[in-house]
């Protein structure tokens, strides 16, 4: 069974204080690891897809990396507008019986000015 574990559950940072969010996963036949951002009362918004170990992607203050067992979302010099819940999800091989996109419980990030 595919599993995704995110840590920490909640993180409070001062503006400009860089940190990382962790996503550990187990899946048979990884087809993609996805990061989403979710603001209160809204649907998740896509950030990144990573397909293979060693891959990295960046967008503004965010950088996502992938190994064979985990992914990190690095946040550099965060601003209050980065406050949100960050969700990690994995897609396994559907032909091997995996269900589409299994999500972790998320990390709730608060950035204080």
């Amino acid at each position: 069974e595919d599993q995704v574990t995110q840590s920490p559950e909640a993180l409070r940072l001062q503006e400009g204080e860089s940190s990382s969010l962790n996503c550990s996963y187990t899946v048979s036949g990884l087809r993609g690891l996805f990061w989403y951002r979710q603001d209160p009362g809204k649907g998740p918004e896509f950030l990144f897809t990573l397909y293979s170990a060693g891959e990295e992607k960046e967008k503004e203050r965010l950088k996502a990396t992938l190994t064979k067992k985990e992914s990190f979302l690095h946040i550099t010099a965060p601003k209050p507008e980065d406050s949100a819940t960050y969700l990690c999800a994995v897609q396994g091989d559907l032909t091997a019986g995996n269900t589409p996109l299994v999500f972790g419980k998320g990390t709730r990030l608060s950035v204080i000015a």
Binding site: F34, G43, P100
Partner: protein
């Protein structure tokens, strides 16, 4: 540029009532999904569809039904609503193996 549209946004049901949550997308995506999100529990897949006429169960399908008669629409039916179905429901769509686009959600309370 509508994307994924869900209706209604809010609904209160009494125990035992039935209702349909509507979802439509205008991106010609093959895949569509229904998730529920409970506080602190992440998103759980209820049902998904890989194309018109094809549906399959996700992790938490009990108490729900779906149909996919067209590419655009993927309604979720709740029969005999129970308090355990109080949740926020999200519909999403995608091309195969690509990112999901989510709707804005339906907040459902069963009392």
């Amino acid at each position: 540029n509508a994307g994924v549209t869900q209706t209604p946004k809010f609904r209160i049901l009494k125990i035992g009532q039935s209702m349909t949550l509507q979802c439509t997308q205008d991106m010609n995506h093959n895949y569509m999904y229904w998730y529920r999100q409970d506080p602190g529990m992440g998103l759980k897949l209820i049902y998904y569809s890989v194309g018109a006429g094809i549906t399959d169960k996700g992790e938490v399908p009990n108490g729900y039904n779906v149909s996919r008669s067209t590419t655009e629409d993927f309604p979720l039916r709740l029969e005999l609503a129970a308090p355990s179905q109080t949740s926020v429901y999200f519909c999403a769509s995608s091309y195969p193996k690509e990112k999901l686009f989510f709707g804005s959600g339906t907040q459902l309370s069963v009392l």
